[in-house]
């Protein structure tokens, strides 16, 4: 069994609203998957079904080889979108409580808490009340609680929301460390650069339906805009000569040069030498589609 998560034809309806429709999803062990989609697309509902907090109306689901996440909860780390801490509890007892719930051996708990807090720069926070911490610091504590039992599967729902850039980077590093340790990671976000930066595979859903499920590189290839960014060496050069190349469909002027739009099916690298011969370039670069562009394109469609 090499799948960490497998969903087959999963549907979930709330009243008359179809939150998730006929969703198939397979996440292999050790993968780092991004789960993207606009607000209200069904990401959180899907994650809650994976976590057995909600149950699908129809369809099959397995998590770490179990029919229900309830049977594998001690091997799963889950950072929900709606997350919080016991405000009146101190950080140490809160993490201890979470570690015990996750079945961490009693003798290992103090060490894991100490190392976790040191890792996020909160070595002196153990005796502080949670309510005395800033929101960002509370999120760091929540993340430690999520990974304190060294889970095999880490599910993070909008983990970067509300974090400042420094905290966001720190959390990104910790996610990658967990991945390097061998954990399978699924995280949802609607901030595309985060997904692009972290994931090797992206699943996108819109209105409860899966619209994309591919490696990031494949997506970029498939949604290649067939555009080459071209800045001439001589700013006064006549760029219209580029139109004489048969593969070029259009030339769009920019501040420093132009964007060369190619005909469909054209391989951009094969055109570059001829462009360089036609007009000596200062910069020539194949434009890659961002996930954001793909996201907007798919959602708009």
């Amino acid at each position: 069994m090499n799948e960490a998560i497998r969903l087959k034809s999963v549907c979930k309806t709330f009243g008359t609203t179809k939150a998730v429709t006929d969703l198939d999803l397979t996440i292999p062990r050790g993968a780092l998957y991004g789960f993207i989609g606009p607000n209200g697309a069904g990401k959180t509902t899907t994650i809650r079904m994976i976590m057995s907090i909600l149950f699908p109306d129809t369809g099959d689901l397995s998590v770490l080889g179990q029919k229900s996440a309830l049977d594998a909860k001690n091997r799963i780390g889950y950072l929900p979108e709606e997350r919080g801490v016991y405000r009146k509890m101190r950080v140490g007892p809160f993490l201890t409580f979470m570690a015990r719930l996750k079945g961490v051996p009693e003798s290992e708990i103090p060490g894991r808490i100490k190392r976790g807090l040191e890792r996020v720069g909160l070595a002196d926070a153990e005796r502080k009340r949670c309510e005395d911490l800033s929101k960002g610091t509370q999120q760091k504590v929540q993340f430690i609680a999520t990974i304190i039992h060294h889970p095999d599967l880490l599910i993070l729902d909008e983990p970067f929301s509300g974090l400042d850039p420094v905290s966001s980077r720190s959390l990104r590093e910790m996610v990658l460390e967990e991945h390097a340790r061998g954990a399978t990671i699924l995280f949802s976000t609607h901030v595309m650069p985060h997904a692009e930066e972290l994931c090797d595979h992206v699943v996108m859903i819109n209105k409860g339906k899966k619209v994309l499920d591919d490696p990031v590189a494949d997506i970029q290839r498939r949604y290649d805009p067939r555009v080459i960014e071209f800045d001439p060496l001589d700013p006064q050069a006549d760029l219209s000569t580029l139109r004489s190349i048969p593969e070029v469909e259009d030339i769009v002027r920019t501040d420093h040069g132009c964007k060369v739009v190619l005909h469909e099916g054209t391989s951009a690298p094969s055109v570059i030498p001829r462009l360089a011969i036609a007009v000596p370039p200062a910069r020539i670069e194949i434009a890659r589609p961002t996930l954001e562009e793909v996201f907007v394109k798919l959602v708009a469609a």
Binding site: I53, K88, L101
Partner: protein
């Protein structure tokens, strides 16, 4: 099971380690102590000092001498002391001993305040005074309060037919204190009886000694021992047990409600649900707060038993009542606690919880409305029916068990059976609502929606 106990332990520690809980726990014994030591002195009717003027018109002039004597401060004091002695005679021997002991300055002060003398000034009006004119005297604004105008009937002392006597009329301003009225009536009663006996040539002291029958000694006989009968305790025992159980249920139930609302509002709920199932969370919370309730109940029962032991009154309570209190408390706590935790699960804050709690609180306080008729008629049709309607049945059966006519044993156990059914139904309802409500935010559902959820889940 381990996770349930972890949640229970956290709930218990989080609740009992708060200042609010500790203060709340201690405030009741303090309030009881205060009410025992201070309130009787503040509210004692005999502590009242009647002050003011009383005008007397005695057309026959036969009673005025006795009226003067009866209104003298010495006689007022003597009458009050006699009243206090009468009350003490009905008290348990230990209390009587404590009250009469010189070693208790507080009790001496209480006795002194209980017999505070009055300051009633008698204004004698001419026998021919016009009553209508004298009435206006009552309403004249003066510094000294005018309490009453008393007009003695012509035949109040000497009977015209040798059988029936007249009495007296009292005219008072609108704001007269009842206790002052009682003082005046007691003095007039004494004065007229004295005047009549003298007029008839009788010896009042002798008549009184003939008609007075001292209350005889009453002994309560049990299998193991005998003790002086203490009256009144059987009347207050049912409400005492109802209050005890109510406090236990409310402490645990209220904590369940607030902790669930807090977990929801602080968004820690879903974090917990990543580690355990809703049912484990529900069970842990109910068990944890049960421990909190047991602390409250244990403390108050302990204080009660310690007081009974210190006054050698332990035999007043049937020891079997304590385990029955335990059984009915568990049934009641589980029923109300389940319903309260489900309310906590569906609301976003305590303000929203109030409206859903209203019907629950009405049911929970219902025993306070009916305890008296039920304890007076513990085997009436109403009492019997109440004993089989959960969740009221636990309170109803406890009232009946602590009454003077306990119900048949089969009814007690049938009521426990019905209570168990109520517990199962409440837990079932709570489990459905809890599971759905936990992650619901926004507008709280109404009662009909809750029922629909329970049926759908």
């Amino acid at each position: 099971m381990k996770k349930i106990l972890l949640v229970a332990a956290r709930e218990f520690v989080a609740t009992v380690s708060t200042k609010a809980f500790i203060i709340g726990l201690l405030i009741m014994p303090v309030m009881i102590g205060v009410s025992i030591l201070i309130f009787p002195r503040l509210l004692n009717p005999r502590n009242f000092k009647a002050q003011g003027e009383v005008a007397i018109i005695d057309p026959s002039g036969r009673a005025i001498g006795d009226i003067r004597t009866a209104f003298s401060p010495e006689r007022v004091t003597e009458r009050r002391e006699a009243q206090v002695r009468q009350v003490l005679n009905q008290a348990p021997p230990e209390v009587k001993q404590l009250a009469t002991s010189q070693a208790s300055p507080q009790m001496a002060a209480a006795m002194a305040s209980a017999t505070a003398s009055s300051d009633l000034r008698l204004i004698e009006r001419p026998p021919t005074a016009d009553v209508q004119k004298e009435k206006s005297w009552l309403l004249e604004p003066t510094e000294v309060r005018r309490l009453a105008l008393v007009v003695v009937h012509d035949n109040a002392v000497r009977s015209e037919d040798g059988k029936t006597y007249g009495s007296y009329d009292t005219y008072v301003p609108s704001n007269i204190d009842d206790r002052a009225m009682n003082e005046i009536q007691a003095a007039m009663q004494e004065a007229l009886v004295n005047a009549r006996t003298r007029e008839s040539g009788l010896d009042r002291a002798k008549i009184e000694s003939i008609v007075r029958v001292e209350r005889g000694k009453s002994i309560t006989v049990t299998k193991d021992s005998e003790r002086s009968t203490i009256r009144g305790i059987n009347g207050i025992l049912p409400i005492f047990f109802v209050i005890l159980m109510f406090m236990g249920v409310m402490t645990g139930g209220q904590s369940l409600l607030t902790s669930t609302v807090e977990e929801k509002s602080s968004r820690v709920m879903e974090v917990l649900l990543s580690a355990l199932s809703p049912m484990e969370l529900l069970a842990g919370k109910i068990i944890g707060q049960f421990g909190v309730s047991m602390i409250v109940l244990g403390l108050y029962i302990g204080i009660g038993l310690a007081l009974l032991l210190s006054f050698a009154l332990f035999g007043l309570i049937n020891p079997w009542l304590v385990p029955y209190l335990g059984i009915f408390f568990v049934l009641s706590y589980l029923t109300y606690g389940s319903l309260m935790v489900s309310v906590g699960a569906v609301v976003n804050d305590m303000r929203e919880a109030q409206s859903l709690m209203m019907p629950l609180m009405l049911v929970l306080t219902f025993p306070f409305w009916v305890w008296f008729p039920m304890s007076q008629n513990p085997n009436s049709a109403f009492s019997t029916i109440m004993s089989f309607i959960p969740p009221i049945n636990s309170f109803a059966m406890l009232i009946r068990l602590t009454s003077t006519s306990p119900p048949p044993w089969w009814q007690v156990w049938a009521s426990i059976g019905v209570g168990l059914f109520g517990v199962v139904a409440a837990l079932w309802f709570a489990s459905k609502i809890f599971k759905i409500g936990l992650l619901m935010y926004g507008k709280p559902p109404n009662f009909a929606t809750l029922v629909r959820w329970a049926r759908q889940a």
